[in-house]
């Protein structure tokens, strides 16, 4: 019988909702036994379930609820006091009810669970407090009602069946009650409720009453015909009292009561049942009614009459599938809107743009509206926490109070579902491991009762949820120790880890299995799962803990998943969308700056963003594109380097042929350096574009010298001085190579063009994504990719852009993993904040750490470093005794630090002696500058860049070393840059000259500053 099925379904939904509220009510009741309104609300809920299951024929359910109701009625009447024991028993009853309901829902009837124990407990408790006769009366009364209900079942079915999808909660029945209750003909169920409340209407939450009236609509109407006169008579004055107490809400709903009234009278008339249902659903939206915890008392509701217009609207149940479909359609509409917007921007048509504007606004509103239908207050999830906390704390022998703020904060339904389990897990952990036993708390000078504080709020298009406890916090040392034991981190890492980082270790997979650490130090079980689940929906988890003071867990999650704001970027001609959630900022570096500001650490490009190194990831490279983001090799800024190079090479060839006698070349033809193709470029566009670059100036002079050499060659050839001519050609060749190298170099600089860096965050780690172009931000509709792309972690989905083309949505996390940012980053992240955790005494400095030999670690302030470079070893040349190399159009002396400082064994030493045995292919050079002059310090290996405060101990004074300090747990020598440069270069006049003078003064000053600073 389909109708019955619907009825049962309705019953299940209603009951489950009510049960959820019961949990809260019970816990609140336990805390404040005098909260009679809660008790009344609990009583009514149980009564409703009992009544309904009676006529639906669920006898087991009925027997359980019945005994519970009896106990409750005694509690309410003040015959027995509320005790923790009673609440526990009642909660067990609620669980039993839930179990039975679950079984019914699964189509297994009432299940075969045995609830006699609970019934016994409840009976014992009930009888414990009062005289036996006291409860016989209500029981009889209730039984009478039941009989009436069962006989009136048919009518009920009709009524409820008609209002299947409609939530029958609210005022109109109250209206009916007023109208009819006074006449003592109908609505006496409600009246009875009031009478059971001993006429204490003021103590009764009107809202709850209203709900009751709604839920029991059928019941109420049925009873009218069947109940005996005595009950009615008894009810009458109370009903009137209720009328008096609630005149305001009843007043505006006369129309509602009119169609509602006939329904109970003509019970089998579905026609009248339907309008009744509609009217019945009126003034209070369901979510509000069930979400409010009943604290809003009757007085409040009474004093604010709902607007009459709301009579027709109200809450209806809508299938989630339908909402999803609507959401999809709105998504399509948003796309179509974007397309039209784009088109109308190009078309000059006033009417079109006018209506497009309207379409735009309406679509946005519609989108918001539909999104709202899927929104649910987070209170829906939270509501079960007080119960969980209560049970857990009782089990652990703890006292915990739960406070909530922002329970109205709304979230998309799918997200609510997704965070339910992680949140529950966190709450459990907080109570289980976070909050201490009362004795411990008192000993620690804290109040006996622990506090668990839940807070939710909107911020920047995201929802923040905080779970705060004032418990023991996380013992960072213990966690570290455990992590080291488990081999997750090295002792070294642990040593430099801050409290916060250590605390975050509990999120590491595998850590959860640590069985003891959680008991000692805080949370831990399955926290990696929590983190993964939250990250799956685009959220982040952050944990802060102070040992002995408590723990704060902050979760940030997006409002919705379906339509998200995103930044659209281009790379290699394709567009990509980057979810705004992971976006921190955008940085644009102009071409000329780019070469200087984008530096290399061990071949990895980095950018200094406000003093911190930001690893750069080139999107084009990550996506396996050829040709970098900056279209290197083609024309850049209108200048074709390839052509310039080509012409230049042609020249060389012609000269060679001329010398071989295969071609004619005259001095006129050789032209001056201003008239050849390259010259024209140099003194034209080149000058304009690159005039400021050192490379360009070198290029200019080299080019001029080369032309001179060419002319010399021609002259020599014409004078039959073949050897001289060859000599000239050789020097032309050398210069020519240098010119090409310079052109390459410039092309790189220019090629970097402007560099657009999108600063992103993944897993708490920042990195810069280099893209060709940053286009715009747009609302995009996320569409999943096919199964084919399953293995592709780089993309989170696809979307359709305004022009109708598909764009891929980047998965920032996946991208970071692919680029190795996250993996590498983790460690760095750990010690970065490890320093944060250190006391803030002393001056902080950013230091570059490097090795000069296997045993010696050194550091210099990063501020003194111009660049870090890696060169092939064979580029090292000799100038006198001094190893040098060509660098940026000049000659850079090299200082092999290992040898200078007398540390052997490092390749740095060999760096100065090309071809030395055991030397690697390349050398690591730290470039420092003295005015115009670059000086290269050859080191063994660049280790890291750290920021920390350092105290220097002046050890045995040795030339080249300022002193040593403990950096990252290791003794590290601080290099005296000036001293080293002086000692090495003084024997060579020219270098000393260049390095001397004012620059040295300034440099020495800086060095001294370092010494003081560190």
């Amino acid at each position: 019988m389909a109708e019955l099925d619907d009825l049962v379904k309705e019953f299940l939904v209603e009951s489950n909702e009510n049960l959820d509220r019961l949990d809260q009510d019970f816990v609140a009741l336990e805390q404040d036994a005098s909260a009679t309104d809660r008790l009344a609300s609990i009583f009514r809920t149980i009564h409703t379930i009992k009544g309904t299951c009676g006529f639906l024929g669920f006898s087991k359910l009925e027997s359980v609820t019945h005994i519970g109701e009896n106990l409750l009625s005694r509690l309410r009447d003040g015959e027995i006091g509320v005790s923790s024991e009673i609440v526990t028993a009642l909660l067990q009853m609620v669980d039993a009810v839930r179990e039975i309901l679950g079984s019914i829902e699964n189509g297994q009837g009432e299940g075969d669970g045995d609830y006699s124990a609970i019934i016994e407990t409840l009976t014992a408790l009930k009888d414990g407090g009062g005289a036996g006769e006291a409860d016989s009366e209500p029981e009889g009364e209730i039984d009478g009602v039941e009989d009436a209900l069962i006989s009136g079942g048919e009518a009920d079915e009709a009524a409820a069946g008609a209002s299947d999808e409609i939530d029958l909660s609210s005022l109109p029945f109250d209206g009916e009650l007023t109208a009819d209750g006074v006449e003592l003909t109908e609505g006496d169920e409600t009246a009875e409720v009031v009478s059971e409340d001993d006429g204490d209407v003021s103590g009764v939450s009107l809202e709850a009453l209203i709900e009751e009236a709604g839920l029991d609509s059928g019941e109420a109407s049925d009873d009218a015909g069947h109940d005996d006169g005595a009950a009615v008579a008894e009810a009458a004055p109370a009903a009137q009292a209720s009328v008096a107490a609630a005149p305001a809400p009843t007043a505006p709903t006369p129309t509602a009561s009119a169609p509602a009234a006939p329904a109970p009278k003509a019970a089998p008339a579905p026609a009248s049942g339907s309008p009744a249902g509609k009217a019945g659903s009126a003034p209070k939206p369901r979510a509000e009614a069930s979400g409010s915890d009943g604290a809003a008392g009757g007085g409040e509701t009474g004093s604010t009459p709902p607007p009459p217009s709301s009579t027709a609207s109200g809450g209806i149940r809508v299938d989630v599938g339908l909402l999803d479909k609507l959401m999809n359609l709105v998504g399509e509409l948003v796309l179509a809107r974007n397309q039209i917007l784009q088109y109308s921007a190009t078309a000059e048509n006033a009417i079109l743009s006018g209506s497009t504007q309207r379409l735009n606004l309406i679509t946005t509103e519609l989108q918001e509206g539909v999104m709202k239908t899927r929104m649910q207050p987070i209170g829906n999830v939270w509501s079960k926490f007080p119960r969980i906390v209560r049970d857990l704390s009782q089990m652990c022998g703890k006292k915990v109070r739960v406070e909530m703020q922002g329970r109205d904060t709304e979230l998309d339904k799918t997200i609510i579902e997704a965070i339910k389990d992680p949140l529950t897990h966190i709450i459990r952990n907080s109570v289980d491991h976070g909050i201490e036993s009362p004795e411990k708390r008192v000993a620690a000078g804290k109040p006996e009762e622990g506090l668990l504080y839940l807070r939710a709020f909107h911020e920047g298009g995201q929802v923040n949820i905080e779970i705060i406890d004032d418990g023991a916090g996380i013992n960072a040392e213990r966690v570290k120790q455990r992590a080291v034991e488990r081999g997750m981190i090295s002792a070294d890492q642990a040593a430099r880890m801050g409290e916060r980082e250590a605390a975050n270790l509990i999120f590491a997979p595998g850590f959860s299995t640590a069985e003891k650490v959680t008991n000692v130090s805080g949370r831990g079980v399955g926290m990696d799962v929590v983190k993964t689940n939250i990250e799956k929906i685009g959220g982040t988890v952050d944990l802060q803990s102070r040992f002995g003071q408590g723990t704060t867990l902050r979760i940030k999650i997006p409002l919705t998943l379906a339509i998200i704001p995103a930044l659209v970027v281009s790379s290699g001609g394709d567009r990509f969308a980057i979810p705004q959630v992971s976006l921190l900022e955008l940085v644009r570096v102009e071409g000329r700056e780019a070469s200087q500001r984008i530096e290399q650490v061990h071949g990895t490009p980095v950018y200094r963003l406000r003093g911190r190194l930001l690893p750069l990831v080139y999107l084009s490279k990550e996506l396996g594109r050829n040709g970098s983001s900056s279209s290197r090799g083609g024309t850049v800024a209108g200048i074709d380097f390839a052509v310039a190079r080509e012409k230049h090479l042609n020249w060389k060839r012609t000269l060679r042929e001329f010398l071989d006698g295969k071609a004619e070349l005259t001095l006129e033809k050789a032209a001056t350096h201003r008239d050849c193709a390259l010259g024209k470029w140099i003194y034209g566009e080149g000058q304009a574009e690159f005039g400021g670059l050192a490379e360009f100036r070198s290029l200019e002079s080299l080019h001029m010298q080369m032309h001179n050499a060419v002319r010399d060659a021609i002259v020599a050839k014409n004078d039959k001085r073949g050897d001289d001519a060859e000599e000239c050609l050789r020097s032309v060749s050398t210069m020519s190579e240098q010119i090409i190298a310079l052109l390459d170099r410039m092309e790189q600089v220019a090629g970097a063009g402007e560099v657009n860096i999108v600063v992103l965050q993944a897993d708490g780690r920042q990195f810069g994504l280099v893209v060709d172009q940053i286009n715009d931000t747009e609302e995009i509709v996320v569409k999943p990719l096919g199964k084919i792309f399953k293995g592709l972690a780089t993309f989170a989905g696809a979307t359709i852009m305004g022009d109708g083309r598909v764009a891929l949505i980047l998965d920032v996390m996946g991208l970071a993993q692919r680029a190795g940012v996250v993996r590498e980053g983790r460690e760095r992240n750990l010690h970065e904040s490890g320093q944060k955790g250190e006391s803030s005494g002393g001056t902080r400095q950013t230091l570059l750490l490097f090795r000069v030999s296997d045993t010696h670690r050194m550091a210099i302030p990063l501020s003194m470093v111009a660049r870090l470079e890696e060169f092939p070893r064979d580029l090292v040349e000799q100038s006198g005794e001094q190893p040098v190399m060509q660098y940026r159009g000049g000659i850079m002396p090299l200082v092999p630090l290992g040898r200078v400082l007398g540390y052997s064994g490092g390749t740095a030493d060999a760096g100065a002696a090309p071809g030395a045995e055991g030397a690697g292919e390349s050398i690591q050079v730290i470039v420092v500058t003295r005015g115009e002059q670059s000086i290269g310090l050859v080191v063994d290996r660049i280790v890291d860049i750290v920021e920390q405060s350092v105290s220097v101990k002046r050890t045995g004074l040795r030339s080249g070393v300022i002193g040593s300090a403990v950096i990252e747990g290791k003794v590290t020598e601080l290099l005296d840059v000036e001293g080293v440069i002086r000692s090495v270069l003084q024997d060579d006049e020219s270098w000393a000259g260049e390095a001397g003078g004012a620059d040295v003064g300034a440099g020495a000053g800086a060095g001294a500053g370092v010494a003081q600073g560190v």
């Binding site: 399509e332 796309l335 179509a336 394709d574 567009r575 996506l623 396996g624 594109r625 569409k783 990719l785 096919g786 199964k787 084919i788 792309f789 399953k790 293995g791 592709l792 780089t794 993309f795 696809a798 359709i800 109708g804 083309r805 598909v806 764009a807 891929l808």
Partner: protein, 145 residues
């Protein structure tokens, strides 16, 4: 009594292929595509098909044939699959042909590797052979790759 079956036919590098007509959602001309970097080579890109994002799979690539000559634009045969609508990129569209079940034969044993997996069987037509492509397998790149 033999049953007749209908196939939507097309050409891939001279091969005459067909897909059961009921599996075909539509046939459209070349559409702008968005490349998917790092994706398997058979994936040519993504197409916006009236708001639906459809993956385009190059049958030439899938069958291990030589790439389509420059400038020749493929056609889309959009088929319904378990993974939603997917487009098969082919060279040219043929007719819808009705063939008798009797003319069907399993692919010959000598047929090579990938093709063997993808070809359900062969219909012997009057003047040529029609190879039937298994659409589910054709889009199951992960399994093949």
């Amino acid at each position: 009594m033999s049953t007749d079956r209908q196939f939507c036919t097309f050409f891939v590098d001279g091969m005459y292929c067909g897909v059961e007509v009921l599996k075909v959602q539509e046939v459209i001309r070349y559409q702008d595509m968005t490349r998917v970097p790092l994706a398997p080579a058979v994936v040519r890109g993504l197409i916006n098909l009236r708001g639906q994002i459809v993956t385009a799979i190059d049958l030439r690539e899938r069958l291990g044939l030589k790439p389509r000559p420059e400038g020749v634009l493929p056609m889309n045969v959009v088929v319904r699959t378990a993974d939603g609508a997917t487009s098969l990129l082919v060279d040219e569209i043929g007719d819808v042909v009705t063939v008798s079940e009797e003319a069907f034969e399993r692919p010959p044993e000598t047929i090579s590797g990938v093709t063997r997996e993808l070809i359900e069987g062969v219909f012997k037509l009057k003047d040529r052979l029609l190879m039937i492509v298994d659409t589910e397998r054709a889009i199951g790149v992960a399994a093949a790759a």
